[in-house]
């Protein structure tokens, strides 16, 4: 080993340690930012180390790529609004996976059959995962941005087609392992995996995006780890695996939060066909703005339950102002956040943090549920399925068993809703018909600001 190789390996070891320390610091909001500085330093060390690599003969393409990438990346980091965070993250998964796939394709185009069976096996995984994650993430980003239709896109024989596509991808991979020099098999594998990525995501509805995002996160990481196997590079394996497992853990958490299996999310096409849910009966009680304001103003404890409707109405700041107004009157205000309240894990927390809500007021589902019985008013803003008591009470409901925020146990519930329509899943929500519940119709942002004003005048 040359001195340069020792230096490179030292930077990789340093980077691995710093990545782990960085993620460890993520366990608390106060230390998380410092942790990211560690991770950034680790990345910088690994890049500097790599630039010493003896195979590199010229730097013009490297510099061009680094400069263009940095400019685009920095612009994205500065300009992307927090509501668009899921799209940006999906796009980012696509970029990361694409880099891994392209490295794999380049390696094969250079070495071909000379790679050996083990390396070719790892390379196959790298390229397959990389390609399908690239297109899958692009479709996910398109759905989240509204460029691609958000509702499930389904056709007859879709599952059989997908199964054939998947088998075809694997078959060309196995054929490639047996005939490493057959470039056609390699490129067929790339093509099929690319198409499979598209087919995998189009039948999935927008409301299921938290799971899909986490899964794609996992695949992108595993593609990077597979690159590490191909290049026999430990820092790539470590970083890729950390990403892969982070995504996997999040997928499992998201599935639990919806009480569904990953296969059900991927192949269920939820949101397209609705099994007959029990029709809730009774009348919905409408409440006037002034009555709602009085109820809130004279409450002791209020819990806000935001759903994705809050974000679409851009009402994060409005809810914060209302909360501030209430707190000034001595009302205790908390927020109950369901794990799938946004379009990606933890999205709602970020949106509220951006609107100056201190994180100490944000409560997880398990923490806040025991508090509802002692709560005077629970305010549901743009949330539907995550507060549907049918999930708990009606075993026949399509969402039976899904953990919910038990707002119906509060002394009274005010539901802010655009109109009388149903939620994403298209299910009737018995919460709206309960005696404790009153409905406040209208745009969430406008309603919240008017409530704030009404309370201000009352004082």
């Amino acid at each position: 080993m040359t001195p340069a190789t020792y230096f490179i390996e030292a930077t990789y070891l340093l980077a691995s340690v710093l990545f782990v320390l960085g993620l460890k610091a993520m366990s608390h909001p106060e230390s998380a930012r410092r942790g990211m500085f560690y991770a950034e330093a680790g990345m910088l060390a690994a890049i500097i180390g790599t630039l010493m690599h003896h195979e590199i003969v010229s730097y013009e393409w490297i510099i061009a790529g680094l400069v263009i990438g940095s400019v685009v990346g920095a612009l994205m980091a500065i300009w992307v609004p927090m509501t668009a965070m899921p799209q940006r993250t999906a796009l980012s998964h696509a970029f990361g996976a694409m880099a891994a796939a392209l490295v794999g394709i380049a390696e094969y185009s250079i070495h071909g059959a000379g790679l050996g069976t083990f390396t070719l096996g790892a390379l196959g995984f790298e390229v397959m995962l990389g390609s399908l994650t690239t297109t899958g993430s692009l479709i996910a980003a398109g759905k989240l941005q509204g460029v691609v239709r958000g509702t499930p896109i389904q056709f007859k024989g879709q599952q059989i087609f997908n199964l054939l596509l998947f088998s075809g991808t694997l078959a060309s991979f196995i054929y490639l392992l047996l005939h490493p020099a057959n470039a056609a098999a390699f490129y067929l594998m790339v093509g099929l995996a690319t198409l499979f990525g598209v087919m995998l995501v189009i039948p999935i509805g927008s409301a299921d995006m938290p799971v899909v995002m986490s899964l794609l996160n996992s695949y992108a990481g595993l593609a990077a780890a597979a690159t590490g196997f191909v290049l026999s590079n430990s820092v790539l394996i470590i970083a890729g695996t950390l990403d892969g497992f982070s995504g996997l853990i999040l997928s499992i958490l998201m599935c639990k939060a919806m009480n569904r299996s990953i296969t059900n999310v991927l192949f269920g096409g939820f949101g397209a066909v609705h099994a007959a849910g029990a029709e809730a009966s009774g009348t919905m009680r409408e409440i006037s703005l002034d009555d709602a304001a009085v109820q809130l103003a004279y409450a002791n404890r209020v819990i806000f339950v935001p759903g994705y409707g809050l974000a679409t109405a851009q009402a994060q700041h409005a809810v914060r102002e209302l909360a501030a107004q209430l707190e000034a009157r001595g009302v205790t205000v908390k927020y109950g956040i369901h794990p799938v309240a946004g379009r990606m894990p933890g999205h709602m927390n970020v949106l509220l943090a951006e609107a100056n809500v201190p994180y100490s007021e944000l409560y997880e589902m398990e923490q806040i549920n025991p508090e509802f019985p002692s709560t005077d008013v629970a305010v549901v803003i743009g949330a539907n399925d995550v507060v549907n008591p049918d999930a708990r009470d009606n075993p026949q409901s399509p969402i039976a068993g899904m953990p919910i925020l038990e707002v119906d146990r509060a002394k009274s519930v005010i539901v802010l809703k655009r109109g009388q329509g149903r939620g994403f899943s298209g299910l009737e929500n018995p919460l709206f018909f309960k005696p404790v519940t009153s409905m406040l119709y209208g745009d969430a942002k406008a309603s919240l600001s008017q409530l704030t004003q009404a309370i201000q005048h009352a004082a």
Partner: protein, 103 residues
């Protein structure tokens, strides 16, 4: 790759998986979005693979693929860390402000 290297790599993979599970499980749901963008930025480490391909000039095709890979991986790294920091700053600042107000 000879079998010994493959086995060493597998050890690294399995141990990293356990470590990842332990470390990531401790991240509160509050920070799951920054977590995802942070791990995403970290997986931009595939940049180091693409740097060599882009700079080594094996073939014209590999250089072009390497260049594109360097670009997309850099977008991932810079964009990912940038936006993670922007989010974490929000969580940190608001808390500091609140403490200041309550004092």
């Amino acid at each position: 790759m000879n079998p010994a290297v493959l086995i060493a790599s597998l050890y690294v993979f399995v141990l990293a998986a356990f470590l990842g599970y332990q470390v990531i499980s401790r991240v509160p749901p509050l920070l799951h979005t920054p977590l995802m963008s942070a791990t995403n930025a970290i997986s931009g480490i595939s940049l180091i693979g693409s740097l060599v391909i882009a700079g080594a000039h094996y073939t014209r095709l590999s250089t072009i693929l390497g260049f594109i890979a360097v670009t997309t991986a850099t977008i991932n790294v810079v964009g990912g860390f940038g936006i993670t920091d922007r989010m974490l700053k929000m969580f940190q600042q608001r808390q500091a402000e609140k403490k200041a107000v309550s004092k």
